[in-house]
Symmetry: C2
């Protein structure tokens, strides 16, 4: 069964792409991140709520503050990555809903007046967007190194002191360097992951 | 700034793809879903934990049980979709970790002996996989209609009575029918979504 997506695109996004653990020193520009963002922003979220926010950690001072919050095993590779991004959910995403979902501006108050509802929906939809963004990094010909091995409270305190965002994942971004990839681990078979009722 | 991904693939996955609200009656085969799964299973999760499970709801009896749990506005389109899938997190994903992450089989017990830790990590990583799967549906030339407007407890009770899975999103899958798409709503600008520190 062949897919509509051409084989080269399948390879770029999935088959030949791997999580990178080393990087070259080639910089990643704001223009590259914008090209990625402007593509993946089009993928769907519920009510178009678009709760993902991205912090590009570029200054040496901010980079070191981030590294200090990472698990030991994630520090060296992050210090040498040309760019590291914090992906977070905006817990006040509802403020933009009247503009983002003009078909029903009332959902801002009907569904999202409570922080608990915003955190649940926002975290789910921002995480979908994180998945789109990881594939978007690959679409730019770059390698992604997503990490959840960090002190979430520490990152939130260092970077989102006002409490309006919560970190979901930290991603190193760049050109894969020498010995960047671990061997691909086995995936669950279709029969193990998919059931029909 | 051009991306490495060819324009036709960008259009198929993002620019010309839209959430579908009507479908033709052309069936969606297990072979199509397997082709999608076998591509998107390659995208990354933490420790390769691969916690996403997919239930294809095909029998008329199961379809109607699902429809009864949906918000009113999601029922008619789901009844006419050729296929509907429930995407869920497997809260016992850690049982497969020694096989899925052979580099460090000890993480099963070191990190995931507690249900709370499994639910947090599993929900995050299965949601990333849901994002990959939505793009995979589009890679197959099909349209996706993801929905979170349903009774989560009700779906879990009807379909995951043993408590081992928790539903994340329900997705209609098929060829887009007549008047399938709403006009695309505006997205947040790069400057609104991305900050540099």
């Amino acid at each position: 069964m062949s897919l509509a997506l051409d084989t080269a695109a399948q390879d770029l996004l999935f088959r030949e792409a791997h999580t990178a653990n080393t990087f070259t020193d080639e910089p990643v520009s704001d223009e590259q991140i914008q090209a990625i963002y402007d593509l993946v922003k089009l993928a769907p979220t519920a009510f178009n709520q678009s709760p993902l926010r991205i912090t590009l950690v570029r200054s040496p001072e901010a980079r070191e503050r981030l590294v200090q919050q990472l698990a030991e095993g994630n520090r060296a590779k992050t210090r040498t990555a040309p760019l590291t991004a914090i992906l977070a959910v905006d817990l006040d995403f509802h403020e933009r809903l009247p503009e983002l979902f003009p078909a029903a501006p009332g959902i801002k108050d009907a569904f999202f007046s409570e922080l608990e509802a915003r955190e649940k929906a926002g975290t789910f939809n921002a995480t979908l967007q994180a998945g789109y963004f990881i594939l978007g990094i690959r679409a730019a010909g770059l390698a992604a190194g997503p990490m959840t091995g960090f002190d979430f409270d520490g990152v939130n305190k260092e970077f989102f002191g006002d409490g309006k965002q919560k970190a979901l994942v930290v991603i190193n971004i760049g050109r894969a360097g020498a010995d960047a990839f671990y061997p691909r681990s086995p995936r669950l078979s279709y029969a193990d992951a998919v059931t029909t009722v």
